[in-house]
Symmetry: C2
Subunit: 144 residues, 2 copies
Amino acid sequence: MVEESKQIFRAYLLQQGLKSTRQREIILDAFLKAPAHSSTEDLYLKIRRKHKNIGYATVHRSLKLFAECGIAAERNFGDGTTRYEATHASEHHDHLICTGCGAIMEFEDPKIEQLQQQIAEKHGFAISSHRLELYGSCATCLAN
Amino acid sequence: MVEESKQIFRAYLLQQGLKSTRQREIILDAFLKAPAHSSTEDLYLKIRRKHKNIGYATVHRSLKLFAECGIAAERNFGDGTTRYEATHASEHHDHLICTGCGAIMEFEDPKIEQLQQQIAEKHGFAISSHRLELYGSCATCLAN
DNA sequence: GCAAAATTGAAAATCGTTTTCAGCGGGGGA
DNA sequence: TCCCCCGCTGAAAACGATTTTCAATTTTGC
């Protein structure tokens, strides 16, 4: 899956007349290894540890590129920072977010997707994407 | 419904030891009359037309208060600005957002809510709120 | 009315994000 | 291979929305 993402990204660069650079490879590697839902800052700090000369702006620009070519998805859970998630061709999924400890869990439900489709049709609407987030307390936080 | 919201707000102020002021009443009035999904800026400019001496910060602070006491809900549709929506004890609803013209439509679907509940239970999770947004093209934009 | 405490408005600070710009570097063509 | 064009980079500055600061003002309980 990681290799596939890399190939998609490289193909995208080629197709768009963009260049393959050392930095982009480093950032791509770091991104694909990082935990899902990392922020630009998270990733920047992580990369910074090994590569002192890579700038925040470059990390930011690379993440935008990843999102453009489809190997990453931007997420926004309302805490003011944008997070990125590798999509590596996986099924779409939604999120459960614990407002107590900040834990983020993923789930998918075809039935909900299907109902969304029906609602859109009823409004003459063509869905291109959606977001569904459930906020509350996770099992661990409930136990305390 | 408007009256009910006003009473909830006033009760909240009292309960929290906060003060009822001319500005808060003006902003509350304007908020309850404004279109759903107005931004702080929208509301500020609207109020500014009649009350030249009410500051942006006060509008902002009041909206936060409205959200705190439950008569308003913060929304964030990914365009970088926070929008507020009067809840006046209405049923919960979700949003269809047209990425072409920016139109925002509302819908509700008890079946989806129910499925969400089931998913949460499966993960030992207690939902306190959720958001569901469908992005795409509205009927009008599709016709063009 | 008085005093204590909260509120206000303007301005400044802050936060994450995005752009600028001068120098660097990739890679196609000679 | 060597150029050269043009995209890329990093640091810093710009940006836009949000939040805080602070001195003056207003509200509220007594």
